[in-house]
Amino acid sequence: MRWNKRKLTDRIMSFLAASCVVIAVVPLLSILYTVTVNGLSSINIDFLTKLPRPVGEAGGGLGNAIEGTFIVVGIACIIGLPAGILSGVYLSEYGDNRFGRFVSFVADVLAGTPSIVAGIFGYAFIVLYFGSFSAIAGGVALSVLMVPIVTRTTEESLKLVPGSIREASLALGIPGWKTTLYIIISTARGGIITGALLSIARISGETAPLLFTSFGNMFWAGGIDKPVSTLPVQIYTYAITPFPDWHAKAWGGALVLIILILILNIGVRLFTKKKYGM
């Protein structure tokens, strides 16, 4: 009898744990389903290439928001990727000291910064300085979120390179810095690229840092010192209006954004899975 009771508890707890997984997957499926169904009905060539129209007028699209997202994310990459990767190289190759551990710690804390705070930083640092909302301010705000992620992923992929490879290169008389640049970094290339792509996926969907940095714009981007429209901000703007037509646009924008981000994520994970056999 006692054995049965224990066996039963075991089964019940296993079942409960498994149902936690099932329940946790439901919101994801529901989000993907509703975004796909609602988004598909509003996506067409005009939607992807045209400017938004005022409420009440049919047609129009989010072409400028798609363009703006690429501009802002591009600026963030130009700032964030080199800074993040080189800091990661320092932490992995030279960071085994008090300063390195402190940088590592600060990067971790920065990675936990609420994204809205990065927005305030972009505002105070760039918008106030130049006197206008701008694509640059948005890029800077996003790069604040990007740098710590890229730093840590670079550091970790470099640390996975076996010490024997460094020793072999040095034994051939190749200077340390060349070893790092040409041999260590290229060995860890896969991991570094993965980290970079995941960080791009992460910041592409960020809305909060852009609300008062790149702001928004109903026209095509007029330069990196001017406000630009971005997909996440545009989705937000449309979602909180009372107009069904704009809601449909928000769903369409969400579908475009989610496709971009999921392609990056799933592509990267499949790639790394094959490589490291996880």
Binding site: R6, K7, D10, M13, A17, A18, C20, V21, A24, L28, I31, V35, A83, L86, S87, E93, Y94, F102, V103, V106, V109, L110, G112, T113, P114, S115, I116, V117, G119, I120, F121, F125, V147, P148, T151, R152, K159, L160, G163, R166, E167, G176, W177, L181, R202, G205, T207, A208, L211, F215, I235, Y236, I240, A250, A254, L257, I258, I261, L262, M278
Partner: protein
């Protein structure tokens, strides 16, 4: 990974001038991270000086938020942030532990990777999209299917009284719970996986069932790490902006009922920063941002200390 203990800094570098230049260059970028963190604090500290000088510590304890008469107090927002985040934890923690236990201990080997990948995929969905889903799917669902039974059976509690319009503290808490489950569960899973196998073998050898092994030998061992994962989830919930802003109702008042709309620190910044016209108004919002940053830094430090202690042994976890 022990083989990576090798470090260039251990080589005498009197003759390696190229190395020195390279180290200085990459070190410069590493220093940049500290400068960035410093600037972040400085901008928020300077930006909030007007508000700090005007209101002092009363800012934290006043519940008036009146842009017209320029009286600002952050209490309703602090209240909204803390309550919605705690609510999220109450919902998310049992699920996260269940998920972590299943994916590390109980699931068939073949399902482990695809399942954890799927759960972590939710973390990749932008919060504005989760918010969009929250407005049109989750909020009506909670209003029509979750709130009525709660007020029928638990209506004697002040928590579940009053009318429910969909956008509420409850909806905000649920959406935060959905958003923190991926991080809390995946870190808990990593922590549980660091529990040495002999712990499990010892329990199994004594005749324990799978669940008993988990309960007796695994969970106690991983307790502090799981606690760290929970705190990290709490940090996420506190800083989360868009999804909550879209479903919590954005009304700066302190109410006992989870059915009434509320407002969080991050939401008020997101909603009002652009509209804020006076310097004092902006400064007050920046001070809320500063508070948010300080809270999240403290939370992150606590969590990382707890999680690190365990993951470090196994060669560093991706936290």
């Amino acid at each position: 990974m022990d083989s990576s203990k090798f470090s260039f800094s251990r080589i005498g570098r009197s003759k390696l001038s190229g190395d020195l230049i390279f180290e200085v260059v990459v070190g410069f970028f590493a220093l940049g991270i500290i400068v960035l963190a410093f600037l972040l604090f400085r901008e928020l500290f300077v930006g909030s000086s007007l508000s700090r000088d005007t209101f002092g510590t009363g800012f934290l304890a006043t519940s008036t938020w009146d842009p017209v008469n320029e009286v600002f107090g952050a209490l309703p927002f602090i209240f909204g942030t803390l309550v919605s985040s705690f609510l999220a934890l109450i919902i998310a923690v049992p699920f996260s532990i269940g998920i972590a236990v299943y994916l590390s201990e109980l699931a068939p080997e073949k399902l482990k990777y695809p399942l954890s990948f799927t759960i972590e995929l939710l973390a990749a969905v932008p919060s504005v999209i989760i918010g969009l889903w929250g407005i049109f799917i989750l909020a009506p669902f909670i209003r029509d299917y979750l709130a009525p039974p709660l007020s029928t059976y638990l209506g004697f509690l002040p928590l579940f009284q009053g009318p429910m319009y969909g956008l509420s503290m409850l909806t905000g808490g649920v959406i935060l719970a959905i958003m923190i489950i991926p991080i809390t569960s995946s870190i808990s899973r990593e922590v549980i996986m660091t529990v040495p196998t002999h712990q499990r073998e010892a329990a199994l050898a004594l005749g324990a069932t799978g669940w008993e092994t988990t309960r007796i030998a695994v969970l106690p061992y991983a307790r502090s790490g799981i606690f760290g994962a929970v705190i990290l989830g709490f940090g996420r919930a506190i800083g989360e902006t868009m999804a909550v802003t879209m479903v919590i109702g954005n009304s700066p008042r302190i109410s006992e009922s989870l059915f009434s709309p509320s407002y969080t620190m991050a939401s008020v910044i997101a909603n009002e920063f652009v509209e804020a016209t006076s310097n004092l108004y902006i400064s007050s919002l920046v001070e809320i941002g500063l508070l948010l940053l300080l809270i999240s830094v403290i939370i992150n430090i606590i969590a990382r200390v707890l999680v690190w202690r365990l993951l470090k042994v196994e060669g560093g976890g991706r936290v």
